[in-house]
Symmetry: none
Subunit: 236 residues, 4 copies
DNA sequence: CATGAATGAGGGTTCATTCAT
DNA sequence: AATGAATGAACCCTCATTCAT
């Protein structure tokens, strides 16, 4: 059914594969633009990025409160003061990382979905993109789904916005499909929420498996089929 | 389709309505068995129960780290020392409350599902029970889905077990139905995970609504339909 | 000339002598009224008072910035946490102590002056009161004149108000005397400032002497004569 | 009475007016003598001087502790490292600036007084010089009277020496006048202290006024009269 | 010479926990 | 049983100082 999709995620996969290294440079570098000697600045940016990577890992693993600045700086192998040279404080950094990470995830999903024209392809691309990120950059998913839950009260609204936007990504193609009577009549908002929650749960379980990468393909297929059934899709 | 279900949740609803008061006495009292004069023990149990109720509320609202012992004792209107008379420490209490709360939720779902014989009734009863708890005892759901996420590292395995058991509740009837070819062939494990995640997300969103109670019925219906479609149920 | 004054400061002296012990109970105890078992409260108040005494000493000796919470608690022989049980934070405590100390000093001067009817007696009583405090409770004077200078920006206005009120104490009798033509025509505001500054300087020097107590009498006399000459007092 | 004085401070006034710019080069340049190519040295000296000016301003405004090296270097528009090229450390610089500033003030007063032959002229010239500095170089006065109070314990003896020398400047002409019976018999030490303190207080209040410059003349006159009355001067 | 990234001791503050009353 | 004063480890953060470039 989704054979046509097989080719789709290749670039994403490769992209995500790079992510392990390059994600930070991609999602974390457009910070505070400032000029100085080019070399110095590049080095500084590189270090900031490295520290952010470390911070994402630590926050993802321990959650906001349990993660201490000491944890982060020792993960980044720098001194405490260095942290405060690059970032104003723990809360600001966390908020920033959460936002950037959410943007990265949402953008990736959005592009994956937007690039397809039929619902099955859209669902397949979206799920596959999500799974790819989870497998190759698990810290991203963990930060969003675990590390940021029950953290700062100030973050709660940010978290809700993330859920909202995530839901919207699914709801949009559903509305389009319902308009064209390709899926059953339904409250697409609730459906979209349910899809988002379903993906999260399955993917979090996937991450915890010893060899997530091998299971990924099956998970993608099962999730896609689950979703297409759940929305009652009946091809043209 | 689910008219027959209407009667089902009556008892649960009444039960849960009481929960606002009695949940703690119900789910929280089989603690550390010890004997003394009957009256004394009863009084003591009542106090412990009251403190646990307070603790659940506080933990659910603020999460493990942000909730302080002071928050809890002042919510329970006792002194700090009293806390340590009844409980060994913060972590132990939280772990215990999480376990008890999980048991309560799982038991309720399990019973709701077990009491029905067809998949639609089972799904309907399960979802309705979950929604009921969420609406009438939101702290329970919040503690399990929010307050306990990213909290203690020690809790992570407990959380996984909870997810496992929650998934199992859905998987069992699915396996039965698949055996009887009432649903499509599928990886029921993945399906069950997806259903659990879907319910969580939709219900968490429900709780955040201003008048959750009024929306509850629609949410139940949408979720049940979503699930039955997702498992590709085709009546006998 | 000031023989009549000889009797005056006796009570003050004795009072101030007690101050070494009782000043805290006098100037520092009308804090946050709250009730509990009488004994407990008394003990708590006593401890708070003791800690305030220690804090005054440390702040007076080292100044606001150089004084650390650790200095204060070790001077009071308690743990760090105890400090924060009694006081909200360093700045609040310092501000409070400064205010209370200023009130005590000003009130004492004001009463000394108000109790006399002729300018020489007023000047004599005022100076003697000031010197007494300086000799028997040097920390009070040091806190006001040294420890609080250049401390918190927030304190600067408080310090100015103190100087203002101190000046006013001198200016009032001068205005009265000028009205009755007992002193030369002059800008009493400037004169009062000058008197206040003169007293501070002489008294600070007195405190630094090895045996301030013995020198005190001479200082009082010299200061009184200085002031009476400076205002050009000519007896009835 | 003091008309003859009018001419006296002219040069000082003009000098002090320049001070706003040139004081640093005047009081701050005889540092650590070392030779190199003349031009280089000059440039270096200029930079050091500029940094010292900035430091005086910052220290005067914020006090020793609240002033950070970052404040100073950003006021001087250089990098942090540059600070440590010119000065060994914060404390040494402050101590040095305090000493230099004190020398400048004392020297100016001493010269003003030394240049007159009668007590009224001496007092007038001294007060006027002090007021001039306060008005045209307030940072100097503020550093000495505020920024250096309660700062470093190590500075305390230096501060006492400054007070000592300041007092001596007043005491010397008083002793001379007393020898010639031009003033009443008195403890000139105490009188000199009182005068010094009186001047400080009045002048500090002057600085805080919105337009100190306009008030300056009145302050000078009032202070001079105050002092001459206080020492009981009776013209030849 | 000048820079500014990097360091880490040390300061203020919080909060789980203990224990005398 | 109940209280709440007392404790101190550990947290976040600042800032004087160093040193490679």
């Amino acid at each position: 059914m989704f054979e046509a999709d097989r080719g789709i995620p290749r670039p994403l996969r490769r992209f995500c594969g790079q992510l392990t290294v390059s994600l930070p440079s991609i999602i974390l570098t457009r910070v505070m633009p400032y000029r100085s000697s080019d070399k110095t600045r590049q080095k500084k940016d590189a270090k900031r990025t490295a520290m952010m990577q470390a911070a994402v890992r630590v926050f993802a693993e321990k959650g906001y409160y349990a993660a201490t600045i000491r944890d982060i700086v020792s993960a980044a192998d720098v001194a405490i003061g260095t942290f405060y040279f690059y970032f104003p404080d723990k809360e600001t950094l966390f908020t920033y990382l959460y936002e950037e990470t959410a943007d990265f995830l949402l953008q990736t999903l959005r592009q994956a979905v937007a690039g397809r024209s039929t619902l099955p392809h859209q669902v397949s691309a979206g799920v596959r993109a999500y799974v790819n990120i989870a497998v190759f950059e698990p810290a991203v998913v963990q930060l969003l789904l675990v590390g940021g839950v029950g953290a700062l009260p100030a973050l709660e609204s940010q978290r809700l916005r993330f859920r909202e936007r995530l839901t919207a990504i699914w709801q949009k193609p559903l509305d389009a499909a319902m308009d064209r009577s390709l899926i059953a009549a339904q409250n697409t908002r609730h459906t979209a929420e349910a899809i988002a929650g379903a993906c999260d749960e399955v993917i979090l379980n996937l991450i915890n498996l010893p060899d997530a990468e091998r299971e990924a393909e099956a998970v993608v297929n099962d999730l896609v089929e689950f979703i297409l059934r759940a929305v009652a899709y009946h091809g043209s």
